[in-house]
């Protein structure tokens, strides 16, 4: 297998883009990534794109072909992949495997979701499809409701508090305030979160990531030719993916995400690094509870200690392990299929020293953690600056 590097990255601003469509967003991100790699487009031999629900959200299937068309990349082979909220990372993994195997040399990988063309209730229902439609959602559960049950069990098992959950949103808004591409760039307080409208007890609206339009893209190339395209290639040193039951109720533990634990262990082994060597991480905080579970599942903190660590500020920029410097799903926004790619873009900027006000000093190894549904899919990637 060949070593693979990210040689170009790009993303749109995340937010409510009422004036722009799916194809506009993904084209902007793709063109930015190609520009970043100094490419015309002729170098690209294949494409992969992650999008969860274009069929339901905008009535458009066959989005791979649409994107190749509008990016001017015909006739390259391009493939859409779907794994709910982890669709972006699945696409990245497909692109990585294509280059690593030697099947393709230079590939573009995108992630995109256009979520604000429908009203919130309709979109929520579509996102619910990431869980078990027949045996969870149909019976009255909601997607936030599933995470709320994880939160309740987590709080019960580890004596965690709603303030600990809220601290995740506060920190991610703080980081988001330093990211000009984030959907929310305002700071909030723990009290703001606790006072916000209840969605699914104990989760309030400020515990939840928003609905977002946006796209992100990266260009991958074999590491040995990466310097042709950039002075600062970022090697992907690990890619691991695991699955679990589609319904939350069938998991032995719901106070953690087993698929993420398995993917993380596999990724650390592939990369030959330990959790303590990770200098910056983008994790899947679709709800505040998800970040507490993530920082434990990834081995940054021991089981049940994530809440206290978060409340104590140990996941802020400048602290023990900066988590979600982009603002995470909570503040940067969560255009579902784009999230996994945005994580790779943010980690690349951090490792290149290009992250502006939110730069983590000395960041040389980074990690991204992307979860689909309530944990039925999990993907972990580890990235290294190439010196």
């Amino acid at each position: 297998m060949r070593k693979v590097a990210i040689v170009g990255v790009g993303m749109t601003k995340f937010g409510e883009h009422w004036e722009r469509g799916f194809r506009d967003l993904v084209t902007e991100a793709g063109v930015k990534a190609l520009e970043d790699a100094g490419m015309s487009g002729a170098e690209i031999s294949a494409g992969y794109v992650g999008t969860m629900a274009a069929g339901s959200l905008i009535g458009q299937e066959h989005t791979g072909a649409l994107i190749a068309d509008y990016m001017g990349l015909n006739p390259i082979p391009i493939t859409r992949v779907e794994g709910a909220c982890a669709s972006g990372s699945l696409a990245l993994r497909q692109g990585l495997m294509a280059v690593a195997s030697g099947m393709h040399d230079v590939v573009v990988v995108g992630g995109v979701e256009k979520m604000t063309d429908l009203d919130t209730a309709e979109v929520s229902e579509i996102l619910g499809g990431a869980g078990d439609q027949e045996w969870e959602l149909f019976l009255g559960a909601t997607f936030p409701g599933l995470y709320a049950m994880m939160a309740r069990r987590y709080m019960h098992d580890y004596k965690a508090t709603e303030e600990m959950l809220a601290s995740v949103a506060v920190k991610n808004h703080k980081h988001g305030s330093m990211n000009p591409l984030a959907q929310f760039q305002n700071e909030i307080t723990i009290q703001d979160v606790l006072d916000s409208k209840m969605v699914a007890d104990p989760l309030k609206i400020l515990d939840c990531s928003p609905l977002t339009d946006g796209a992100a893209a990266v260009v991958l190339a074999p590491l040995d030719i990466a310097k042709k395209y950039t002075d600062t290639p970022i090697e992907i040193v690990a890619s691991a993916q695991a699955s679990d039951t589609i319904a939350l109720h069938n998991r032995s533990s719901i106070a953690g995400v087993k698929a993420a634990q398995i993917a993380a262990q596999a990724a650390y082994k592939q990369a030959g690094v330990s959790p303590s060597q990770i200098r910056v991480a983008e994790v899947h905080d679709c709800f505040t509870i998800a970040e507490l579970m993530a920082i434990e599942d990834l081995g940054f903190f021991s089981k049940g200690k994530g809440g206290e660590a978060s409340l104590n500020g140990e996941t802020q920029i400048g602290a023990k392990i900066p988590v979600n410097t982009s603002g995470g799903l909570k503040a940067c926004g969560h255009p579902v299929g784009a999230t996994g790619i945005k994580q790779a873009v943010e980690i690349s900027w951090q490792l290149q020293g290009e992250a502006g006000k939110r730069q983590v000093s000395g960041a040389d190894i980074g990690l991204s953690h992307n979860v689909g549904g309530s944990g039925a899919t999990a993907v972990v990637h580890i990235y290294k600056r190439v010196n």
Binding site: A121, S124, E125, G128, D132, Q133, E134, W135, E136, L137, F138, L139, G140, A141, T142, P144, G145, A148, M149, M150, R152, R153, H156, K197, M198, V199, A200, D201, P202, L203, A247, L248, H249, N250, I254
Partner: protein
């Protein structure tokens, strides 16, 4: 979410009376029914199994932002119930609010209307749970 007539019809045994599966090879119970035992795979011996409907609350939430068809019910309690036989399922706990609930509470199945706003006029019925009075 709208459900078609064929889908509703084929879910009747499972939804109306908690009919699931038992693997005779490893004695694991499953709800809803499965055709492959994940533990035994091809060695499994799957049979139909009628759950007792008794169980305990494994976790719960109180829904305030409802899905379509549940607007008039909010707030309502949804739970993961660990059935007495070991399998778990998700369902509503009727006649209670969050303040009445604790993890570990004993519940039993009841038959109720799930939702009735289906555009084809279907009224969906199925299992919910209620707390067992001590």
């Amino acid at each position: 979410m709208k459900e078609s007539i064929p889908l509703t019809w084929r879910k009747i045994p499972d939804r109306y009376r908690l009919l699931g599966s038992l693997c005779k090879n490893c004695n694991s119970h499953y709800f809803p029914a499965r055709h492959v035992c994940p533990k035994c795979r091809r060695k499994g011996k799957i049979e139909s199994y009628q759950f007792s409907g008794r169980g305990r609350v494994f976790s719960f939430t109180e829904i305030h932002a409802p899905p379509a068809g549940f607007e008039e019910q909010i707030p309502y309690v949804m739970a993961i119930v660990e059935l007495a036989e070991g399998a778990r399922c998700t369902g509503e706990i009727v006649d209670v609010l969050k303040k009445d609930m604790q993890i570990g509470d004993e519940v039993e199945m009841v038959f109720r209307k799930i939702q009735s706003n289906d555009p084809e006029g279907l009224i969906h019925y199925g299992f919910k749970f209620k707390k067992v009075k001590k």
